[in-house]
């Protein structure tokens, strides 16, 4: 589902003396349907960078990232947007929303974007918000005023609303209490069971043990560092 070949990445800081920082070289990764792969490595090793490149948020210097037949490295913006809408979900650590939009609509939006009927989408959103213990009285409010933990759970609900065939999860269980952590882990297990290919970053070792089938240490892709 996700095939990464010979991927490299450099950052060029034009306004800081033109420093060129190579951050990744010859990265390879293959994730099959129904499989969950954990990215590991110390902070700064490039876990999030790799994840952002798969999502098309960071530009690769060379190589290819094929997700469901689309090479994200060379695709046009509209092809990447279509891929994100239909195929590739991303649960980031931060919720970014338009002001004033009610929580229920924030969660239902990815479903509406793929043409699901409004009531069906809202039912799914209600179900997810309830599972993630967001009190019903908050559903009609914009999440911009919620606490950090609530925002994170809204973000997770939104990320799991559409049944994406491929998903990227950036620390989905960080700072959640035991009950909510359990819900998120079962959401991940359900996604795997229906055949989703998942790439995740988990600092929570027990969570990683439970849902991930294998681990990839991204440090081996860091230029100048012996594997």
């Amino acid at each position: 589902m996700i095939e990464i070949k010979n991927l490299s990445k450099t950052f060029t800081l034009h306004n800081q003396g033109g420093v060129v920082i190579p951050v990744m070289d010859a990265a390879e990764l293959s994730v099959a349907r129904g499989e969950c792969v954990a990215l590991t490595g110390a902070s700064g090793a490039g876990k999030s960078t790799l994840m952002r490149m798969i999502y098309g948020n960071y530009l690769a210097a060379a190589g290819s990232i094929v997700v469901d037949g689309v090479d994200v490295v060379t695709a046009e913006p509209r092809e990447i947007l279509a891929l994100r809408r239909e195929v590739l979900g991303y649960v980031s650590q931060f919720l970014r929303v338009v002001p004033r939009v009610p929580t229920l609509d924030v969660v239902a939006e990815p479903l509406l974007a793929v043409g699901v009927e409004t009531e069906v989408a809202r039912d799914r959103a209600r179900d997810l918000l309830a599972r993630l213990n967001i009190p019903e009285r908050l559903w009609s409010l914009s999440p911009t005023s919620f606490s950090g933990g609530e925002q994170q759970r809204v973000n997770i609900a939104r990320g799991f609303a559409h049944t994406y065939p491929a998903m990227l999860l950036d620390e989905p269980t960080a700072s959640l209490d035991a009950a909510n952590r359990e819900t998120v882990l079962s959401l991940i297990e359900e996604a795997k069971a229906r055949g989703a290919a998942i790439v995740g970053i988990f600092h929570d070792e027990a969570a990683r043990e439970r849902v991930c089938d294998r681990e990839i240490d991204v440090a081996v892709f860091t230029p100048g560092v012996a594997a």
């Binding site: 034009h14 306004n15 948020n57 960071y58």
Partner: protein
């Protein structure tokens, strides 16, 4: 899918000075493109060349007409271009007073565009005008008031209603949220985003506000000294800018 708009080698010169040079891009149906850059970078010149307000010195602006044919709007006759700007195109000005008739009622401002495309039944026109005022959150009780009696944010929303009432396929926007205070901006952005989604509009938005393009635009074009220096997916250009100027632009935004 075929592009709605194909822009090829558009350049505009003001004597020896360059307005914009060698601009090329395709815009597909339903796509929203942002053009960002500092004042004087040529973004408004480009927008005005695309919308037929300025004559470019070189290049073509090909638009897909309703019959599917691609027509160059630069060389088309003036009446044809005017017809386009009344039907398939809309232009939202930065200053609402440039896009509104200030001595005509709010309802009249919206109704006028309908009459320009042949609507004649007063009752229907008024009904549609009230419907559109509602969509942009202007109360029906204000339909007979003139825009001079409206706040800046309301004037801008009225301008949007006037532009969208004829169901255009392409909307040009020049700093649509410029000069409005932030709470009004948020409301307007939410409204614009909803309308763009609902109506499947394509839009080209010129702004210097990076937060606005992050929310509204699918893709981004960065201009500097009359040239396009970088293009790409909006979040990619903002989060991983490649060109020196874009890096400077992104790192100059104050964090709130």
């Amino acid at each position: 899918m075929t592009p709605l708009l194909k822009v090829e080698n558009i350049s505009k010169f003001y004597g020896h000075r360059i307005g914009c040079k060698d601009v090329n891009f395709d815009l597909y149906p339903g796509e929203v493109m942002g053009i960002v850059g500092e004042s004087g970078s040529g973004k408004s010149t480009l927008l005005n060349c695309l919308a037929g307000h300025l004559d470019p010195d070189t290049g073509e602006v090909l638009f897909e007409m309703r019959d599917g044919a691609m027509r160059d709007t630069v060389t088309m006759s003036e009446p044809e271009r005017r017809m386009l700007s009344r039907t398939d195109w809309a232009f939202v000005h930065q200053h609402a007073r440039d896009g509104l008739r200030m001595n005509v009622s709010a309802g009249g401002n919206v109704g006028e565009r309908l009459m320009a495309v042949g609507a004649r039944h007063y009752g229907n026109i008024r009904e549609e005008a009230v419907d559109w005022l509602g969509r942009v959150e202007i109360s029906e009780t204000r339909v007979d008031d003139r825009p001079t009696q409206f706040s800046g944010g309301m004037q801008q929303r009225l301008q949007i209603a006037r532009n969208l009432v004829t169901g255009p396929r392409l909307v040009f926007m020049d700093e649509p949220t410029g000069g409005l205070d932030v709470s009004v901006q948020a409301r307007l952005l939410d409204l614009l985003r909803g309308l763009v989604r609902e109506m499947g509009l394509s839009a080209i938005i010129v702004t210097h506000d990076l937060a606005v393009v992050r929310l509204l635009a699918d893709r981004l074009m960065v201009m500097k000294d009359s040239h396009v220096v970088e293009t790409g997916l909006t979040d990619q250009v903002l989060d991983d800018p490649q060109h020196a100027y874009t890096q400077l632009l992104v790192s100059s935004v104050l964090q709130v």
